[in-house]
């Protein structure tokens, strides 16, 4: 009879030292998430919603403050857990320039996202009162009548943000996978919580979950193959194995490397929404509650591109000639598919979804520059795109059907946006600004973002990518401007729509997005400096 547990505790186990200050942002967010779960369990129903909002905001702002301290201190920590001599507890988290920049961006954006999620001023908010109820059933109606509130969105969202903070800071593939799942699983749930059009929302949730699981499997399998190649999941070890300077790779194992890279890439490309792995995007963006769509569109993109940057720049530079052609193809396809299909969309959320696909393609041109200015360009682009997107979706959540009993559900059909410029000049003006920024019109932040990534691509020989990017931008400008024309120069034709009066949170989110979009369009150096300073990965 062998003991079930015969392995003795290693005598030479050395507890990893943890630089708590460096990982404080993540700790705060996860801590807040756990507190939020407890609040959900124990707080009385009447005050639960406001306590949740308070916990989420305090947690996120505190985490942002912790990031601010890292920036002020100029902290660069190679590893959060200093490995023991044999490296069993490998350095799993790295806090370097890009990680700090991206964590700050994610936290800032998620604060705005929380603010948009608190919007309840018109019809009880964007979320269903009871997720488990069958749409349209008497149970749902009853839940609505008694004023049930779905306040789980806040802990779910905090977990998701925590995962997003971890994703671009992961220093090995396993940590990265864990982070991926931590931020994805809550998102799947959040997508199914829309108050109206429940079926569409639940369908979106399920689709996202199925396809997300599918892509995670590819990611995990890719990680396994790379481990087979390098005998390590650490990014630096993989890089060393590729160049042959580290642990000697087994000769003839290149197949493992190539397949591993490709499968790993599938997981990342799925998350950023690159073609042909973009296909979930429109359905999910349309079905999810609009505040969640804004959060997902902005923050997921930041986190996933951060991780992609890290993998490409830290683990795989030695193999770049192997995967670059394939990723070029993906980037081109993404830009073309996103821009072209967006033209024929009639739903504003689907249009913005395809627009986000096109933007993923533009961002990839910066990633594929394989250069320091490519990194800073992508960082800048992610920041400005995130704010524009949150603002745009916040506005989408305000344009409502004019029902008999005041404001109804969201009026997402484009025909309902006709003539909005005359009836609601402020809302139409802000949306116009966001559209112009997405189109990359000068004096908006979007122009500087595009300029940054395209010029990085051109200066590193990827002028073909930049050229296609510019052409795709021209196509994209068409559908952005079409909405502007619709708002200002068309008579209303579809069913009537009104702009709901925003609550303080949404209003603040929109105003801040407007300010960021304008300021970074006029004085981009305010952010270019930090982005450039942050554009150095530590192995």
């Amino acid at each position: 009879m062998t003991p079930l547990l015969s392995v003795p505790v290693a005598a030479d186990f050395v507890a990893p030292t943890v630089d708590y200050v460096a990982v404080l942002p993540m700790l705060i967010v996860f801590g807040a998430a756990i507190v939020a779960v407890l609040v959900e369990a124990f707080a009385p129903r009447a005050s639960r919603f406001s306590i949740q909002v308070g916990v989420a905001l305090v947690g996120l702002i505190a985490a942002l403050g912790a990031v601010g301290k890292l920036i002020v201190d100029g902290t660069r920590v190679e590893t959060a857990g200093i490995p023991a001599a044999d490296g069993t507890l490998a350095a799993s988290i790295v806090i370097d320039g890009p990680a700090i920049f991206l964590q700050g961006t994610i936290l800032a954006l998620s604060i705005l996202a929380v603010l948009t999620m608190t919007e309840r001023s018109t019809d009880g908010g964007a979320f269903t009162p009871q997720a488990s109820a069958v749409p349209g059933s008497p149970g749902e109606g009853a839940a609505r009548r008694v004023g049930l509130v779905q306040s789980e969105v806040f802990p779910l969202m905090l977990f998701s943000v925590g995962g997003m903070l971890m994703f671009p800071a992961s220093n090995d593939l396993l940590t990265m996978f864990v982070a991926l799942e931590v931020f994805s699983l809550p998102l799947y749930l959040l997508c199914g919580l829309a108050r109206r059009r429940r079926l569409l929302s639940q369908e979106a949730s399920l689709k996202y979950f199925l396809l997300g699981a599918f892509s995670s499997a590819f990611f995990l399998y890719g990680a396994a193959l790379l481990y087979g190649f390098a005998e390590s999941v650490r990014l630096a070890d993989i890089a060393a194995a590729i160049t042959g300077t580290g642990r000697p790779a087994v000769v003839g194992q290149d197949g493992l490397l190539l397949l591993g890279i490709a499968l790993l890439a599938v997981g990342l490309l799925f998350k950023v929404g690159a073609a042909p792995f973009h296909i979930w995007t429109p359905d999910v963006y349309q079905g999810a509650p609009t505040p969640v769509t804004g959060f997902m569109a902005a923050c997921t993109k930041v986190a996933a591109f951060g991780a992609m940057l890290r993998v490409v720049y830290v683990a795989l530079p030695g193999a770049r000639w192997d995967f670059m052609p394939a990723l070029w193809g993906v980037a081109i396809l993404t830009m073309v598919v996103g821009s072209v299909i967006a033209i024929v969309q009639t739903d504003v959320k689907r249009m913005l979804a395809y627009s986000s696909i096109a933007h993923a393609g533009f961002l990839m041109t910066g990633v594929l520059a394989i250069d320091k200015i490519g990194i800073s360009g992508v960082l800048f682009y992610l920041f400005v795109y995130g704010f524009t997107t949150i603002g745009a979706f916040a506005l989408v959540s305000l344009v409502r059907d004019a029902g008999e009993d005041g404001v109804g559900g969201e009026a997402t059909h484009l025909s309902q946006w006709a003539g909005l410029g005359k009836r609601h000049p402020m809302a139409a003006g802000a949306f116009t600004l966001f559209l112009l920024a997405m189109a990359g019109i000068p004096l908006t932040s979007g122009f500087m973002g595009k300029y940054a990534v395209f010029s990085a691509a051109v200066s590193n020989g990827a002028w073909v990518l930049a050229l296609i990017g510019v052409l795709a931008s021209a196509v994209a400008a068409f559908f952005y401007v079409r909405v502007i024309v619709l708002m200002y120069f068309s008579e209303p034709s579809g069913s009537a729509s009104v702009v709901a009066t925003p609550g303080v949170g949404t209003l603040f989110a929109i105003l801040l997005s407007v300010v960021v979009t304008i300021v970074l369009g006029i004085a981009p150096t305010v952010l270019f400096g930090p982005a450039e300073a942050a554009s150095l990965f530590l192995p």
Binding site: L211, A262, L263, I279, P282, W321, A326, V337, F478
Partner: protein
């Protein structure tokens, strides 16, 4: 190609401006410019006294100009060319251009003409425009014109000249269309502006070629080196400058705007479209003399343009019944004389400028006289409704009569000296057919001039009265008659004053170089006699037809040439047929190409992209199994892509 002017000429070198008087020459331009600015910015507050401010600014410029003139005259002739650098204007890398003024006998002759005649016309306008609500604006424009014109003649580079050139064009446009509530007048202003643009284009091309050839556009940099440039370049510069001169001076083929420009108030016609602005082309050609001397073809073109225009204008003048249009045709013709003389070079320069000065006096005087007649005749311009006005407006009649004698070239009036000089020079310059052809043109022109000017004079002041009963012709106030009297004095005496003893010839010598007279192909005195006989014949014909005989109040149909002349020898029709219609066709075809070709291509592209989008959209079936399958396909393609690179 033999040059029209073979001998080299020596011109005075340029010295720097010295002394406070010369250093302050910018005041000449600044005074009227400040006047214009004050009146335009001051608005209605300056209505009460604004016109007197403008008059003062103009007289101030004249006094300063006169002082400068005396200053230069006190210097030795070879020191009379002074350059005054004002400020660094276009510091562009290797191209450095300073804004500066050139004070020399030529520019000062113009300064005196512009400020003196201009000031007289300012005074005249005070009374003439008395009942106009916008008199202040009118004076602002007049000041603006004087400033621009002074800048034009004082500039020390072609670039600065161009500024003045555009300035006078602007002022001319504003003043022709001063009564722009009348659409016809507004159209006339536009026509003048557009035709001037054609000429300005020529001037700008000339400046560009100059820069390409010499690397500079200052007179000091271009003119002394003109002989060293290639003949080809000089010819192109010369022709392009000529195009500019034709536009501004209403020379063939850009003459059509001048007649319509009479839509402006009469003082404007006197100042801008008789005495000063329209002579800018002559100034340009004389100033660019060295360029033309290095480009005989261009020089010949100048002479031809002058000859054609002088006959053209004279013929048109014979048929016009509108007193201002008849005078405009005469202006065109007289400038043709000047242009021809300027093209002849040598002594021709002297006579061109001398005729320009005398013409400035007698033609301005006659225009003011015409204005005075209109003033007394309820603004009627129809000469067939005048007749026998000599009794009603004696001063006008007398001053106009002196101008008439001057333009006829009757000795000893002003025009005799200058015009006879031109005729003589035309007969004396060049070899072979040229003296005969150009000489005969000037001679015949003199005869026709005598006819149409006498016709104008007799129809207006002599014969029987034809005015309607409600007209009460009366003499104008003294504010109007005094300037006319002063100009009449010039009409009588200026020519003799300038000619006798070679006074003007010597004065201009630092600019034109020393010139010697040639012997005309017909001896001097028989030629003079012949001219006078032709003039007498012209006057006699006009006397028989328009004084002795009854003048019908409605114009008879007339011969084909009369009808053609009434229609300005079909110049508008030619322009319409040759430029306007093809231009419109070109525009229409461009619009067609744009809508069908460019827009079609763009629209087609957009439709293609849209169609592609529509097709790709079907990919989005909404079925999660399809999505998963397409992802799997993507994975396979990606794997193959990665492997293919290595393979």
């Amino acid at each position: 190609m033999t040059p029209l002017l073979a001998e080299g000429t020596t011109r005075a070198a340029i010295g720097a401006a010295e002394g406070a008087l010369q250093q302050g020459a910018w005041l000449l331009v600044a005074l009227p410019l400040a006047g214009a600015a004050l009146l335009l910015l001051g608005g209605r507050r300056t209505d009460a006294w604004g016109h007197w401010l403008a008059v003062a600014a103009s007289w101030g410029a004249f006094v300063y100009g006169a002082l400068l003139f005396l200053d230069l005259r006190s210097l030795a002739p070879e020191e009379r060319v002074r350059d005054l650098t004002l400020f660094s204007w276009m510091p562009a890398g290797g191209f450095q251009l300073d804004a500066g003024l050139l004070l020399d006998p030529l520019s000062l002759a113009f300064v005196l003409l512009i400020t003196f005649v201009g000031s007289l016309i300012h005074v005249y306008s005070v009374a003439y425009m008395e009942h106009d609500d916008d008199r202040r604006r009118f004076f602002a424009y007049l000041n603006l014109f004087v400033a621009s014109m002074l800048l034009l003649v004082l500039a020390n580079s072609y670039a600065l000249l161009y500024v003045g050139w555009e300035g006078v064009g602007l002022a001319s446009y504003l003043l022709i269309g001063f009564w722009n509530h009348n659409p016809v007048y507004a159209t006339a202003a536009k026509k003048a502006f557009v035709m001037n643009r054609v000429g300005d284009f020529g001037l700008s091309v000339a400046i560009m070629i100059m820069f390409a050839t010499f690397g500079t556009v200052t007179y000091a940099g271009v003119l002394p080196n003109a002989g060293e440039g290639s003949t080809n370049a000089m010819t192109w510069i010369g022709l392009a400058l000529l195009l500019g001169a034709c536009g501004k001076s209403a020379q063939f083929p850009l003459q059509a705007w001048l007649g319509d420009a009479m839509a402006g108030p009469t003082p404007v016609s006197a100042l801008i479209h008789a005495a000063t602005m329209v002579t800018a082309g002559v100034y340009l050609v004389v100033r660019s003399g060295p360029i033309y001397e290095a480009a005989p073809t261009a020089q010949l073109a100048v002479v031809i343009v002058g000859a054609v225009t002088l006959l053209f204008g004279a013929i048109v003048g014979c048929a016009k019944d509108d007193i201002k249009k008849a005078l405009a045709a005469s202006t065109m013709s007289q400038i043709g004389y000047m242009m021809l003389a300027a093209g002849l070079g040598g002594i021709g320069y002297v006579f061109a400028i001398m005729h320009l000065l005398t013409h400035g006096f007698f033609k301005a005087g006659m225009f003011l006289g015409a204005g005075s007649v209109m003033h007394g005749m309820n603004d009627s311009v129809e000469m067939r409704r005048y007749g026998a006005l000599s009794g009603a407006m004696k001063t006008t009649w007398a001053t106009f009569g002196l101008g008439w004698l001057a333009i006829l070239g009757v000795p000893p009036f002003s025009g005799f000296f200058s015009k006879d000089g031109i005729i003589e020079t035309a007969f004396a310059t060049g070899e072979g057919w040229r003296p005969w052809v150009f000489g005969m043109a000037t001679l015949i022109g003199a005869g026709i001039t005598a006819f149409y000017m006498s016709r104008l004079f007799f129809m207006t002041f002599q014969g029987r009265k034809r005015w309607p009963a409600e007209a009460h012709p009366h003499e104008s106030p003294s504010l109007m008659t005094v300037p006319m009297i002063i100009l009449a004095v010039g009409s009588v005496a200026l020519g003799g004053f300038l000619f006798v003893g070679g006074r003007f010839h010597d004065w201009l010598e630092p600019v034109t170089g020393a010139v010697e007279e040639h012997h005309p192909v017909i001896a001097k005195y028989p030629l003079m006699g012949l001219t006078l006989v032709l003039v007498a014949v012209g006057v006699a014909l006009a006397w028989r037809q328009y004084w002795q005989a009854e003048v019908p109040q409605t114009a008879p149909r007339g011969s084909w040439i009369t009808r053609a002349a009434r229609k300005d020898l079909y110049q508008d029709d030619v322009n319409e047929a040759v430029f306007m219609r093809p231009g419109q066709y070109l525009t229409r075809s461009l619009v067609f190409t744009d809508t069908k070709g460019v827009d079609g291509a763009v629209g087609g592209l957009a439709a293609a992209v849209g169609g592609l989008g529509g097709r790709l959209r079907r990919w989005q079936s909404g079925l999660v199994r399809t999505y998963a399958a397409s992802m799997l396909a993507g994975v396979v393609v990606l794997l193959l892509g990665v492997l293919a690179v290595r393979g």
